[in-house]
């Protein structure tokens, strides 16, 4: 919201709707709902996000979850924009506070001139603080009243949704349809109760205190495609399905569980199975069994579980088995911060097994990218017969975004194994990239392949030969060098040369790009480089680095003993470039744009709020339709 609403700092009286609520067009709004997780604020926020997606707006959400079992203070923030939304917003335009603690903890996130909508049954704000506009509504009492006077206040979330729908002039019919769809599988009375709560909130005469209501400008999306709305873990699961993954196994852990829940429910429709295993070691082993049998499979976890899988992933490197490993990173080490975000598993992903055990590491930059990177991971795993890590994180897992509906007819990969008989077959030819034949394939010369964790010869049989160990170690490493050749060099956003290049990976894409946009508006010569391929790195980054005086990685991990974040450490080792440094943090929360600006441009201050809307399009390198082939695609030969 760009203008001050005409409001009075007073509590609205529940009578006498003002007829002259004036609509005002806006392009962008950040709405933060603060309450307790058991109040269903996620549900209300998700409705807003879904509605925005259906209405052709761009949307991004941000939420925090308490790690306690029974719930606790929690927020759900929705940013809706008529243009590209890259980050969930540093400050809220509109704060909904259900409790006194919600008000106290979040009032500082409300921008000056913003609106506090509070439950006057539970919250007593400091009305003397003239920075904000106050709208008090007895949310609890009115919800109970609307739902027939029971003492329970369930439904407050939907009541508030009604209020917001009124204030922001949202499409009521679409919202009611969403509510009906959401509760359709439950008792009919639940749908009715929800609609009653919504109606009560919508009918509340909020116009007594807010003279304006708002309308999001409709800017037709350039693609013309419909949008779908989902969170990052859903996008990951459906991307795996599109990429032809039909089998997998996992063990419950936050924030990975919802990926396995989706796959367990969905895969049988496609003829596949997702197994809930007895532990992490079994889950990676089951997935490897499925992959060996001819169906590329997935396993996943968060840090603690990935640590347990490390030995088996090393076997996948050694035996050269395709496998997808999702790590939905959270705060570590050990049990760490289970419901917070961190990017501290990069080194574990790249190096986390004993011995030289090369594997591929990818990281999605947005919810949409979770979908495409899963397809790319599947493609790479098959083509290079290798384990592939997907490093997502808590913020991507739970964040809801709307994005252009993928063209599935061009993306779907057929997962059927090829059991065509072979005249002769070597599983580990020294001068080629391994492509296993699944069991059930006849080998007509009668010599069958063995997949081995022991160092082996070309047929898979054990060897103690130092010469063979060196040759096979090189073979396993060189296929990743071959992969590096085909990874496109990412585009630099912003200035193509200048004083500073901000380099990032994973979920920090949005705030880094917003920070660069704002710095450039303030005259800085700065660009952003976002890496989706972290191991191997694409060739040619040195040409980009040459053009900047400083390269600063922005990462949610610790600077470590030597003073550099995990990506910076890798880049410094790779390019021997002392101008690479890092800006890191480990507070368990996503980066705010201002935080990046303050951290990177020390001593300078930029305008805090307005963020230009012109972020670089995410390039889904390697997942363009022409790159997605069947499982029988040609494998490059002659790699030594």
């Amino acid at each position: 919201m760009s203008e001050r609403p005409d409001t009075a700092a007073q509590t609205a009286a529940p009578n006498g709707e003002r007829a002259d609520l004036r609509p005002e067009n806006i392009q962008d709004a950040v709405i933060r709902l603060a309450g307790n997780s058991q109040d269903g604020i996620q549900t209300a926020g998700a409705f807003l996000a879904r509605l925005a997606g259906r209405s052709d707006h761009d949307v991004m959400t941000y939420m925090t979850i308490p790690s306690t079992i029974s719930g606790g203070p929690s927020i759900f923030q929705v940013r809706i924009g008529s243009g590209e939304v890259l980050s969930a917003g540093d400050e809220a335009d509109f704060l909904v506070a259900f409790y006194q603690h919600s008000y106290q903890d979040h009032i500082d996130f409300l921008r000056e001139g913003g609106v506090l909508l509070y439950d006057s049954d539970n919250v007593e704000p400091n009305l003397d603080d003239k920075r904000f506009f106050y709208v008090g509504v007895p949310i609890t009492g009115l919800t109970i009243e609307a739902l027939g006077g029971t003492a329970r206040d369930k439904g407050k979330n939907i009541f508030v949704l009604g209020l917001i729908a009124k204030i922001f002039n949202l499409d009521v019919d679409k919202l009611k349809k969403l509510i009906t769809e959401k509760f359709a599988s439950k008792d009919e009375s639940i749908v009715n109760t929800a609609l009653m709560a919504f109606q009560a909130g919508y009918a509340y005469p909020v116009g007594n205190v807010l003279a304006k209501h708002y309308r999001f400008e409709h800017i037709p999306r350039p693609s013309g495609r419909a949008q779908i709305t989902m969170d990052g873990n859903q996008a990951l699961a459906y991307g795996l399905i599109a990429g032809g993954v039909r089998y997998g196994a996992g063990y419950p852990i936050t924030p990975w569980s919802s990926v396995m829940e989706t796959l367990r429910r969905e895969l049988p429709k496609y003829g596949g199975i997702f197994v809930q295993a007895e532990d992490e070691l079994a889950s990676v082993s089951i997935a490897l069994g499925c992959s060996y049998s001819g169906y590329l499979a997935v396993t996943g976890s968060a840090g603690p579980g990935i640590s347990l899988k490390a030995e088996a992933i090393g076997w996948a490197s050694m035996a050269e088995i395709p496998l997808i490993v999702c790590n939905i990173q959270r705060g570590g080490p050990s049990t760490g911060l289970p419901t917070n975000v961190e990017q501290s598993d990069l080194h574990q992903a790249i190096f986390g097994s004993h011995g030289d055990s090369p594997r591929v590491v990818l990281a999605p930059s947005s919810v949409e990218d979770c979908f495409y990177i899963a397809i790319e991971a599947a493609r790479i795993a098959r083509k290079y017969s290798t384990p592939v890590f997907i490093l997502s994180d808590t913020s991507l897992a739970t964040r809801i975004e709307a994005f252009d509906e993928p063209d599935l007819s061009k993306l779907m990969v057929n997962p059927k194994p090829d059991l065509t008989p072979r005249q002769t077959f070597k599983p580990y030819p020294i001068d080629q990239i391994t492509q296993h034949v699944p069991p059930g394939t006849r080998i007509l010369d009668g010599k069958y392949p063995l997949l081995a964790g022991l160092e082996h010869d070309e047929m898979g049989h054990p060897t103690g030969s130092p010469k063979l160990h060196m040759a096979m170690t090189a073979k396993r490493r060189n296929k990743l060098r071959k992969l590096a050749e085909e990874i496109p060099v990412p585009e630099v956003y912003g200035d193509q040369e200048g004083d500073m290049l901000l380099a990032g990976w994973g979920s920090t894409y949005g705030p880094i790009h917003d920070a660069v946009a704002m710095a450039r508006e303030n005259g800085e010569k700065v660009g952003a480089l976002h890496l989706r391929h972290l191991h191997p790195l694409p060739n040619g980054l040195e040409k980009i680095f040459e053009k900047f005086k400083r390269i600063v990685t922005v990462e949610m991990n610790d600077q470590g003993v030597y003073g550099f974040g995990q990506l910076a450490t890798i880049l410094r080792a790779r390019y021997c470039e002392p101008k690479i440094t890092s800006f890191t943090k480990t507070d368990g929360l996503t980066f705010r744009v201002k935080e990046i600006l303050d951290g990177v441009f020390k001593g300078k201050s930029f305008a805090a709020r307005h963020i230009p809307r012109e972020g670089a399009a995410i390039v889904h390198a390697g997942t363009a339709p022409e790159n997605v082939k069947s499982t029988r695609e040609v494998v490059p030969q002659g790699v030594g």
Partner: protein, 319 residues
């Protein structure tokens, strides 16, 4: 009749295939075993070859798998598709293969350390879930590959490098463990009794479900002569379980009912060397069959739509 007849069938490509020859021992023999001369595992390998030969299985559908240990070198000695996996995790590896490819014959080999110690949890859950495979455990009561440490089945008092004054920990009773875990075919045999061993492999293979055979297989290097009490050639007695014939004779009253869990448990209580044969067998549905059932009903609910149609429909709901 064999492991895999419930298969949902994976599209083998329909190309003209050359005619098959009968499966011979020669065709399925690979590397010369690296076991010590006199090791009990040689006899197990010989018995396995013989069963494969007798059953004349399709060569390409035989899959041998193992974890780590002396006996776990087994797949290297069988010429067929197979994998040599990591220590203790071969049951879940085999589970993945069995579930994704029910058309294959999944054979798993290992020892007491691999199966009852580091892999003990997987043994329990493979049994509980009743995943279709044949698991042959060569139990020698000692860690041989690492040269004589106490194993989970070493008897109390056994002197090893890790128990120089004699083992003090209660050993695992494999039969009891398997019965309580819910394995649906549980048998015990002895590597010096080749015919009995073959019979057990044959029956385990015929069983639909998680079939486990514990085979006493002597480590001549680190625990010699320990199984002599069950070897008639060494003055012992090899006592075979007499199974009920259901012939209404008075003798039959005394015979063992393999479907009786408590009776099986009682047999497992007998002092060493105990009895040999099938302790327990049940026709509880396999996970393979239950998952297949779910797949079928899920597919029906989609109207047997194509993968593209199903995912498109899901996305349409997210608009």
């Amino acid at each position: 009749m064999n492991k895999g007849t419930t298969g949902n069938g994976d599209g083998g490509t329909a190309v003209a295939e050359p005619p098959r020859e009968k499966l011979t021992k020669k065709a399925i023999t690979a590397d010369h075993p690296t076991w010590c001369p006199g090791c009990g595992d040689f006899a197990v390998l010989a018995a396995f070859y013989k069963v494969l030969e007798k059953r004349n299985l399709e060569h390409e559908k035989i899959v041998t798998l193992a974890g780590i240990g002396c006996s776990s070198r087994f797949p290297y000695f069988v010429n067929g598709h197979g994998a040599h996996y990591i220590h203790g995790r071969a049951v879940p590896l085999a589970s993945g293969i069995s579930l994704a490819r029910p058309d294959l014959h999944v054979f798993l080999f290992g020892g007491d350390g691999d199966g009852f110690s580091i892999g003990g949890n997987h043994l329990d859950h493979g049994a509980r879930k009743n995943i279709n495979m044949t698991y042959f455990i060569m139990d020698n009561f000692v860690y041989g590959l690492t040269k004589k440490q106490t194993s989970p089945t070493s008897p109390i008092g056994f002197k090893s490098k890790t128990d120089p004054t004699g083992a003090i920990d209660q050993p695992v009773n494999p039969m009891k463990k398997l019965i309580s875990a819910g394995a649906t075919f549980i048998a015990r045999t002895h590597a010096t009794q080749v015919k009995h061993m073959m019979e057990m492999i044959d029956r385990a293979f015929d069983h639909q479900g998680f079939s486990v055979i514990e085979c006493l297989s002597e480590c001549v290097e680190f625990f010699p002569d320990v199984f002599d009490p069950a070897d008639p050639k060494k003055g012992g007695s090899f006592e075979v379980i007499q199974e009920k014939k259901w012939d209404n004779t008075p003798e039959d009253e005394l015979r063992h009912d393999v479907t009786d869990e408590l009776a099986a448990y009682k047999l497992a209580q007998l002092p060493f060397p105990g009895v040999f044969g099938v302790f327990y067998q049940s026709d509880r549905p396999t996970k393979n069959a239950l998952e297949k059932k779910w797949i079928q009903s899920s597919r029906e609910k989609t109207g047997n739509a194509s993968d593209l149609e199903i995912l498109q429909k899901t996305f349409d709901r997210m608009k």
